[in-house]
Assembly symmetry: C2
Amino acid sequence: MTTPQPSHKALVPFVSVDHMMKLVHHIGLEPMLRGIADYIEADFKRWPLFDKTPRVASHSDTGVIELMPTSDGDVYGFKYVNGHPSNTADGLQTVTAFGLLADVASGYPVLLSEMTLLTALRTAATSALVARVLAPKGSKVMAMIGNGTQSEFQTLGMKTIVGIEEVRLYDIDAAATAKCAANLAGQGLRVVSCTTAEEAIEGAQIITTCTADKQYATILTDNMVGAGVHINAIGGDCPGKTELAPAILHRSDIFVEYPEQTRIEGEIQQLPTDHSVTEFWEVLTGAAQGRTSQAQITLFDSVGFAIEDFSALRFVRDQIADTAFFHALDLLADPDDPRDLFGMLERATPA
Amino acid sequence: MTTPQPSHKALVPFVSVDHMMKLVHHIGLEPMLRGIADYIEADFKRWPLFDKTPRVASHSDTGVIELMPTSDGDVYGFKYVNGHPSNTADGLQTVTAFGLLADVASGYPVLLSEMTLLTALRTAATSALVARVLAPKGSKVMAMIGNGTQSEFQTLGMKTIVGIEEVRLYDIDAAATAKCAANLAGQGLRVVSCTTAEEAIEGAQIITTCTADKQYATILTDNMVGAGVHINAIGGDCPGKTELAPAILHRSDIFVEYPEQTRIEGEIQQLPTDHSVTEFWEVLTGAAQGRTSQAQITLFDSVGFAIEDFSALRFVRDQIADTAFFHALDLLADPDDPRDLFGMLERATPA
């Protein structure tokens, strides 16, 4: 073959699943959660600077495929992510994802990365960052309702960023709770497996709901939620999928990522479209108030937003420089003369 | 390392630039253009079945980055593509692209491919398919205005699918014309290099305009275009970027891909939003008329649409089975227990 070798401009650093797992172990899971949370906080504080749009969703009977783009003017990023609750029955992940960063000035991609793992990390980092700001001071106990893929990451995020000491697990599937409890053993937390949601919530200052199935639409009923808690609702994240009784929403001060998206996908799709909500980034900048009393119920109606993925990808990009945790992918055609794509192809003629 | 090997579900076939060049030489450029045109024609004939949306564009001072998704209900596809006219001055491509197909039922990606080359191929295949249907019968001469990256592909598409025998080249940069003429030598066409656009158009039944720079907004003036021609306008493809004088549009019957997108990006952004246009797919199905007289001016106001990329990716996917023109990319996390992503990560702990 006379194929010319691709130049460095044609090669995009690619972080595979294997690379990402090695990167997590290299950095350490808890330091990595803190690092990603720091990047998210930094990006949320410059929120108005970003190009923002609700994600572009393609819905089907079995799930949704979404593209989540954003840009800060210098760097562009997007994530591909699916959500298919019935996948687990076929031995597949409910959520898989990958993402990309590109240079806005040239449009050339500069990073391609797996994001199934990274999405779990950034979701946990976001939840913990928000809880650090909004949860009652001195929160030590979290109820974890839904013990699937996200649950261990959520729990360790709350441990390392908020300082919780006890997690109380509940899932309609006891096997999921057993899996989660086994994974969390030896991680420096008291782990209590519960057989009802009510039992899990006992004594918890933070209640995290993270269930995947559309059919269980009310994970928390009104009488289950007392005063002085922070609810971290991350499972309700598409049209028709919610986890909380509307009465809870009416008793809560509601914080969201990007209202235009949350009103379509979040818990607040159950409320009138003019119901007052606070954009969380404004609490970080001081433009809006967070928790104002210990008795208040704060609710983070989280659906996941493109800027969080952008922050996580930025973190990965900064960490992999000078490491072996990526390889160069021959993704972009790069002829010597940029107008001569045809000539490049012709010169690649097999001998 | 104790890292488990990824299962086949985690591995996505990836077609690199090198693979794509080898695939083109394996199939042959002209047969590949015909093959892609056949796939586009088949998909255009089932147009109503597709999820369609104008592309999601992120504009900056120097260019645009776009995501172009679509789905036929069974397969989902999207393309990432940039357009940066000033890139060539830095030795970079104006347009780079990559794309993906995924299984709608599970949301799992099934193909990742370079699309810088493939976009040039699908654009040429689309132009030629449309010209085969709309150009005057017996068209033998094409004027090629703009002799950049797309020009050789456009020309060979018109040769193999429409049957042109002569191409007349013009570019404001004589070096581009020389490059194009050299590349087209020996390809079975009479190649005539011209020093003005007027000279290039002499005797041409098909006029292709494909220029990249926003600053030359009128490539064709009204007096340059006679009766009985087909204009293939592919360069005007974003807001504020057009190539044709409005008077030409008023004398033409205009055919478009997807009006919702073309009215924003195409030549018809110069016209009132209710100006009558024909969707090309309807000509293929017989629902609308194409050319009705030899004297008519037909204009394909092409901006590129997601279904064309979808068709090209389908073609590639069908062609690479049982070949060496791809490799398996470790893009998706795939734990043995789909709810146990954390356990997979833990088991990857370095020894």
